[in-house]
């Protein structure tokens, strides 16, 4: 079973606002087509990622806290 945090991004829901990329630029960015991309690893326990997921305007991000 996977351990550690994983973020799933639904690009059909994403509107490319860049709220996540502003909050955690080392993890999220927006590509030229205006959709979110993951540019770095999600560190388990990184509270900034929790806030970025909660703060996604369209609810396109999902944080999966993998079990140990």
């Amino acid at each position: 079973m996977a351990s550690g945090w994983v973020v799933e991004a639904d690009r059909d829901v994403c509107i490319g606002s860049g709220a996540c990329a502003f909050a955690v630029p080392d993890v999220f960015d927006v590509d030229d087509s205006g959709g979110v991309i993951l540019v770095g690893p999600v560190v388990t326990g990184d509270e900034r990622v929790v806030e970025a997921v909660a703060g996604c305007p369209t609810g396109a991000l999902k944080l999966i806290k993998g079990g140990a």
Binding site: I15, S17, G18, D32, G34
Partner: protein, 428 residues
């Protein structure tokens, strides 16, 4: 650096919440709305009626979602409910749904579109407004404007100084022109024409004719020869229409975008920058932290957006009969999401009424939420952090002018300081 040529009297009259321009937004409203918002959040969080009614405002209001006297109105005052109203595209919509017997209103601009159509059109401009593009805005328009404006303040300080102190009201002289000249510059509009554009987009007559006269030649020129600006992005954009056909934006579609972006881009950041400067200068510890490290301004800007958003309400319509926080509302009703109240929800922030830029940054509703979340958020952030940073760089000893009345945050549906009077020492 060329000197900015702006008619100062006209600038002051166009950017004055107490002027007639803002009467329909409750510009002269002076009461602190937050105690009422707190009570409504605690006793609701959803109530019948619009926020201005709860605040005792009896003047006429024309704003997004208002007045619509033939429809029932509801308002939400907590974070969770407001976030749902803004994000949920099934129960709530942004384009006015027709009542029985009414024709459906057209949705020419993205602010009034919903669902996939909104997504298709917003995606045309979204890539120009992502965080990575903020530097493009800075280097093309923001930096030059800020530099010129501070050069002007410096010149004035020499002429009109008392001792070695310069004094100025930053509200109209600094906060207003930065976003105005940034967004007009991106549309190829000259500095001389910028105030005409501002007058056109704030007139309740929605003076599209003035805008068309100024922009049609530029649109034609960019179709021939694109440059590195927003008009070029728009004229080259291709959108899939409702029939599945790909087409370039028409002049009318470019103008609809232009009207919205010029109106939103030239008015909101003006007031939010004033709120941020006043809040910062009223908080000695935060000012010291920003003086020591300009990176601290990022948190100052976010906290001001949370604590006192210039646009306190975003309104939508109920798409189908629904229940929100226990309150039943019929299809066609107007639902006002009170962002200002949600941003002080004590379940999300400790000491929510305190302006505290040292608190951890959390997502807030200062730029709205959902698919209509502010398109220009990252441009606005850059305008504010760069503009305020440049003031701190070049105007040593920057403080609120102790010899002038303290600024007051006024306004109902558009909020901002009445003045931003500052004093400073020698200019560098």
């Amino acid at each position: 650096m060329t000197e900015l040529v702006l008619d100062r009297d006209r600038l002051r009259s166009l950017f004055d919440l107490r002027s007639d321009v803002y009467a329909s937004r409750g510009g002269t409203f002076e009461t602190d709305p937050y105690p009422t918002f707190a009570r409504l959040r605690e006793t609701g969080p959803v109530h019948p009626g619009a926020p201005h009614e709860a605040l005792g405002w009896t003047g006429d209001v024309f704003f997004q979602g208002l007045p619509y006297p033939e429809r029932p109105h509801f308002s939400a005052y907590d974070y969770e409910t407001c976030a749902r109203v803004l994000q949920d595209d099934d129960d709530f919509v942004t384009n006015t749904p027709a009542l029985p017997g009414e024709p459906q209103m057209p949705d020419a601009a993205i602010l009034f579109m919903d669902g996939q159509r909104h997504r298709r059109y917003r995606k045309l401009v979204q890539p120009s407004f992502v965080p990575g593009k903020a530097v493009w805005w800075l280097e093309n328009w923001i930096r030059a404007t800020v530099t010129s404006l501070i050069d002007g303040l410096a010149a004035d300080a020499t002429v009109g100084s008392v001792g070695s102190v310069g004094r100025v009201d930053l509200n109209a002289e600094f906060c207003a022109p930065i976003p105005l000249l940034t967004i007009t510059g991106s549309f190829g509009i000259t500095i001389e024409e910028a105030l005409d554009v501002r007058a056109a987009v704030t007139s309740d007559g929605q003076d599209v004719a003035i805008l068309a006269r100024l922009l049609i030649p530029t649109i034609a020129a960019r179709r021939e020869q694109p440059t590195d600006d927003l008009v070029s992005v728009l004229v080259q954009a291709e959108v899939t229409d409702d029939d599945g056909q790909l087409h370039r934006l028409t002049d009318e579609e470019v103008l609809a975008f232009a009207f919205l972006l010029l109106a939103a881009g030239s008015g909101t950041t003006w007031k939010q920058m004033g709120i941020t400067i006043v809040s910062l200068l009223n908080h000695p510890q935060a000012l010291a932290a920003a003086q020591a490290d300009r990176a601290f301004l990022r948190g100052v800007v976010e906290e001001a957006l949370r604590w006192m958003p210039t646009d306190p309400v975003f309104s939508r319509f109920v798409a189908r009969d629904t229940t929100l926080a226990g309150v039943q509302m019929p299809a066609g009703a107007v639902i006002h999401a009170c962002l200002a109240a949600a941003n002080r929800d004590p379940t999300r922030w400790e000491r929510p009424d305190a302006f505290d830029p040292f608190r951890p940054v959390k997502a807030h509703l200062g730029f709205g939420f959902g698919p209509h979340t502010c398109l220009g958020a990252h441009v606005a952030r850059m305008e504010m952090t760069h503009g305020i940073g440049a003031l701190l760089d070049r105007l040593p000893g920057l403080q609120l002018d102790p010899d002038r009345p303290a600024p007051r945050i006024i306004g109902l549906y558009e909020r901002g300081p009445d003045t931003v009077p500052v004093a400073f020492g020698a200019v560098t």
